[in-house]
Assembly symmetry: D2
Homo-oligomer: 248 residues x 4
């Protein structure tokens, strides 16, 4: 039987979870006018102070049951992502809500939407890579510049620049708490069923390594005002997502 | 407020409907082993005799409230589509179910999934165009060859060839009746809501012109056996989709 | 034998010429500061007054010996192009030189470079299409808006908007004369041969139909100053290119 | 002044050399019928015994004068490449000639053609990545499967599979000697200049690390017969290309 595009399975757009991720990030943390951020965050989430993050990353991802797809279908295991996240509260619980998360593949788009991420398809996402054997490049170090951008249609939707100052650790990266989302499958006719529910992404196995920190700059098409960069960073991360739990 | 990707609106991936379509098709109608087709069609739909269609097309589409997007955001109004459809019954009602419909843009992918089409994103879809002012090409006529193909990842998922024999009319094209679909938004956790419902696409304003008919060939990655081409065709069509109605 | 990518042949990137073209254009004619234009035009061409054109178009093109590739390899017969042209003189001869011409396919890029066009690969080019059977769209008419844009890397390299006022004719479109180019194949080592020669593109069979005219706007990454739009237009054109002749 | 697309410079498609490369390879070495290989190799090169290589790789590359483009224009510093190479002789000199080398960016395509590589643009190239922090993936080790493929138009032009058996070293990888090429810029009119010359790529700073070896499989659209895989491998490499020298 052919799977529905959204019904995880061998012939679906989405592998069966849990889904494992390993990623290389270039990130800028910033503060912005909380009133402008409020326009980007749906109820029941409430903007918490104005801290945000923005990143571009390359992700290697596999479903728990098909890790060998890295060899058999590598196009189904590598993608790029760019996103802007806003520190929020759901009641007393702190977390981050991503008003938009641009990705470069169908399977990441649909898997994310199913879990509650507000994913959109980018036309392209580019970001700095430094190869250790390139005779013209040194390793990341104080002074190294990094950058990335995301393009969709006629727009550069997100653009980041980071200047590394020193080696850091996970403790140097602002913590946001949980990852919030909004699962929504609206009606196009009154006869239809619908879903609309705030969720928390079920993340586990989180690890962060190779942290470098410095200054950063960020530009985005989102209407985010009074942007004040706080920190630029590069790091590697890994985690597992098993789904998302409805917040009540 | 930023719209959810699936919640039709100005900042969503999906414009508000009704949605209007104008398309140029290259199509092959064929018969195939109904048992192999049964693996491609979910309950409650039942394969009806083995007649199928396959097509590639270029579509110009606008939401009813934003037709000026043809000028302001042309990337949001043109896409390519390839599909294989199977003649089915829902009870006594005849129609066509498309086990898969490949498209080249995010907005067409998500709009279709919301309405109940089993859409998937293609990497590329190519098809014959004949320009009337190209000094090396004549107009479509008996003997003209047409073709198209759809690529996704490492696969050519669909490939069509048509040889035109004569001018035809809409009456020459096999009729399938209604357009069926399956709206599905599965759970990734037991706490979540879900949708799973057979639908009929709400189509109106249908017109077909510029019909040419002849012989055809089709190849697809779908496990469709004993393929016997019945007719090749080229035509233009237009219609409006206002949503989809749950079948009960 | 496998053809070299630049040596026209069956397994090359380039079909054997002459090459035939049929295209749908959205164009804006404008005047700009001739001194800024001089920076875009190489010797021996001389900017002639400051008249320029800019366009986006969809082109159907075939080599004279393989017109059936429209059916067998449609991906090798359709592409999009965007360009900015500057009215120039070569001695007493009037013409247009295109400092850059963005295209969406390899074969158009390499064929153009071989003939002397300064072609570059775009990531995407989008432009208005109006389909006659789309129930939400009318035909082109006074008041119709048209637009197009070209994206390369992080940049929107060219963006056009046209507002149609009335039906026109070829006589309404400013004439530039010949099409100039620069064939160049530089050395990367002193032992190598090189080519560097001004050329005139050998165009024939030119036809223009379906002309509509009105007002226009243009934006480009090229350093073109004091842009004053003169005319917006939409039209269809066809022509044949057999190569290019060295100007002496 | 705007640079010609092929004239290395800031506004050209090609940065000024020397050009530095760092790459991650998945490779299969194989033997094939030398007569079928002879059809892929132009004079004055002569097939030498039938040894070939095939690879897909991701490359980080910078021009010597603009290494900071990794941050400012990352889209101009990362690409994917797939190729098939044939062991050849030029007189007494041993080397490898690549009948075709598919790449994913304009700048790599044009830089390569300028230096004498028979480059072609791929629509997409995918290959295995293993991220050390992905909880579902282990590091490369005996038993690890790797794969990659290259797609152009309707074709999968190259496809590789490797099964790792053990850690290796550079000495385990077959050596081909020099890298040969063919610089060609043909005429499209008798008035034009032309270039056609066999070259040797001027490579320096070569390093290879992280070699793993095992078995491999390869499929290609090239007409290569009696393919007998000899070795599968994964490794990292770096080198500098300063241009190419005409062979006389």
């Amino acid at each position: 039987m052919l799977d529905h595009p959204l019904s995880p399975g061998l012939t679906s757009a989405i592998e069966r979870g849990p889904w494992h991720y390993g990623a290389d990030y270039i990130a800028v943390y910033f503060r912005a006018d909380p009133r402008s951020l409020a326009q980007l965050v749906p109820e029941p989430f409430v903007v918490d102070g104005g801290l945000c993050n923005a990143y571009v990353c390359e992700i290697v991802s596999v479903g728990d049951s098909n890790p060998e797809m890295t060899a058999t279908r590598p196009d189904r295991t590598v993608y790029h992502e760019g996103a802007v996240g806003v520190k929020c509260k759901f009641g007393e619980r702190s977390g981050v809500f991503y008003p938009v998360m641009w990705v470069t593949t169908e399977w990441s788009l649909l898997r994310g939407i199913l879990n509650g991420y507000q994913k959109r398809l980018a036309d392209s996402i580019s970001m700095t890579k430094l190869h250790p054997l390139n005779p013209g490049l040194g390793p990341i170090a104080p002074g190294t510049g990094l950058g990335g951008f995301c393009v969709k249609g006629p727009e550069r939707t997100l653009s980041l620049r980071v200047r590394i100052e020193k080696k850091g650790s996970q403790a140097d990266l602002p913590s946001f708490g949980a990852t919030f989302g909004m699962r929504r499958f609206p009606r196009t006719d009154q006869s239809q069923g619908a879903v609309g529910e705030p969720v928390e992404i079920l993340k586990s196995n989180s690890r962060v390594t190779d942290v470098w920190i410095g200054s950063g700059e960020v530009e985005t098409v989102l209407d985010v005002r009074d942007v004040q960069p706080v920190l630029g960073a590069a790091y590697r991360g890994g985690f597992t997502i098993s789904g998302s739990k409805v917040l009540t």
